[in-house]
């Protein structure tokens, strides 16, 4: 961890948050702040502070690779129960860098056309190209989460999907895409408060959907589906991270940190000029 940015972190949160062998979702406290010793105030300050480095790394990544046929990219996959804060991550973490370097894909309930194809059909074209940071707001994991809980596919098909996902993600990783899969983990109580706020405020009514309560009633089933998805698809090439999200400021800080980690590992460099700088200086001066 570079000295200038450790700030309120007591240790690198990535290993603390990563889903490894023996991980149990029900042992994660949604209200905790693994690896971070600061509070909300310092968390917001640190988020702001690290925006500069994220911005710089993103621009380098774009500069070095966006015109290439192949090359590194970053893909952030966001999954969560309703109200857990996916939108806030997009807004406050991803939204802090240049929109030109971001490819955001929000996956809704599949259309008829999408349902007529394999579940990965609509996902593939949205994978970020070289030099880009892609963000999936929901993803192919819906097909093994709500797909499993609501029995939208039979068990054999769900089983097949875990394998298909691993093959798909391994292929992306091979092509240079750093995949960061994040589950924002909130508690049922926190969700209740957040949904209630949507009902209390007319400017938030549009964000509420009666179906949210229906899904909420299936909470244990969803947690089980997440647990299974973690066990089946948290791989070396594409690990899952479970981020406690009852405190929005912590979740944002942690996701920023994971993005920084991926970008630092890529370590993109300003590309050298593919023209003669002094010749161009002269041409320009004379123009």
């Amino acid at each position: 961890m570079s000295e200038k940015t450790d700030l309120g972190w007591s240790e690198d949160p990535a290993p603390l948050l990563r889903v490894d062998d023996g991980f149990r979702l029900d042992e994660v406290d949604p209200h905790s702040t693994p690896g971070y010793e600061g509070n909300k105030k310092s968390g917001r300050r640190d988020l702001q502070y690290c925006t500069g480095e994220l911005d710089d790394l993103q621009e380098r990544l774009f500069a070095a690779h966006h015109d290439e046929e192949s090359g590194p990219a970053v893909l952030l996959v966001l999954q969560a129960m309703d109200t857990a804060g996916k939108g806030g991550i997009v807004r406050h973490v991803v939204g802090s860098v240049d929109p030109q370097g971001i490819e955001l894909a929000a996956f809704k309930k599949p259309s008829k056309e999408e349902l007529a194809h394999d579940f990965l059909w609509r996902i593939r074209p949205r994978v970020p190209g070289p030099g880009m940071i892609g963000v999936f707001d929901r993803s192919h994991y819906e097909d093994v989460l709500i797909g499993k809980v609501r029995e939208l596919a039979d068990e054999a098909e769900i089983e097949r999907r875990y394998e298909a996902i691993n093959a798909f993600e391994a292929e992306l990783a091979e092509a240079g895409v750093r995949i960061i899969k994040v589950m924002l983990h909130i508690s049922p109580d926190e969700q209740k408060d957040r949904l209630m706020e949507r009902l209390d405020r007319p400017d938030k009514h549009w964000k509420y959907n009666p179906g949210d309560v229906d899904e909420r009633l299936l909470w244990p089933d969803y947690m089980q589906a997440y647990q299974t998805a973690f066990e089946r698809t948290s791989t070396e090439a594409a690990p899952w991270y479970v981020i406690p999200a009852d405190r929005k400021w912590y979740a944002r800080l942690a996701v920023q940190r994971l993005l920084l980690g991926a970008l630092r590992e890529i370590d993109p460099q300003w590309p050298a000029a593919d023209y003669d700088v002094s010749v161009e200086r002269e041409r320009l001066a004379e123009s």
Copy 2:
């Protein structure tokens, strides 16, 4: 103009910047700041200040319409000579609102596949859907700008394109898309300085392309092509605005203002709940 946001503006810049009958591009001073009496410092402050309203209006637009089959949208078309600041507009004006409500399309040199189709073929799928703010970083106008200057198409085809553009944009306007076409107007001297900076800074080398000087040498031809495009395609439904852009802060402020104007006219309202709020409050409380 609402009182709380007139700030450094002495008058609404929209009519001052709009291309109407008799407009002459060569009479526009790229260093001027039409309608604005403040300086760089106040300009930056005003930009920041108005971000709140832009944000609010964008969220209302999204809330009210993004799930509809048809409805209002905004399309900002950005055209300019190299270095004029399109990227800065995307970053500092558009980038200040929620990325989820933005559809950004950067049109590069057309691919072989794109060239095999009509020039509007690659444009149509990128038109923003209901509730969205779309941004075209370059656009179908390239086909009557570089297309004309470099004689990539014959004269009859260029003529046909003006008509095709007007028909296309009228169709979009009819469907509820507010089209704001912006040319960022810089002076050749300012461009020289900005290109020279790219050559002076290794972290900017990637932004420089020797072809930029080739285009620069055709400056008068480009200005003539813009003048003709304005005369042929600045319509009631889709007017052009020429924004002096030697001062980046002014250009950003002016584009923000045009976006605010379009959104205020749409005047999007928070949608009413399509469910019974008190019933839901009870269901939620019991869940």
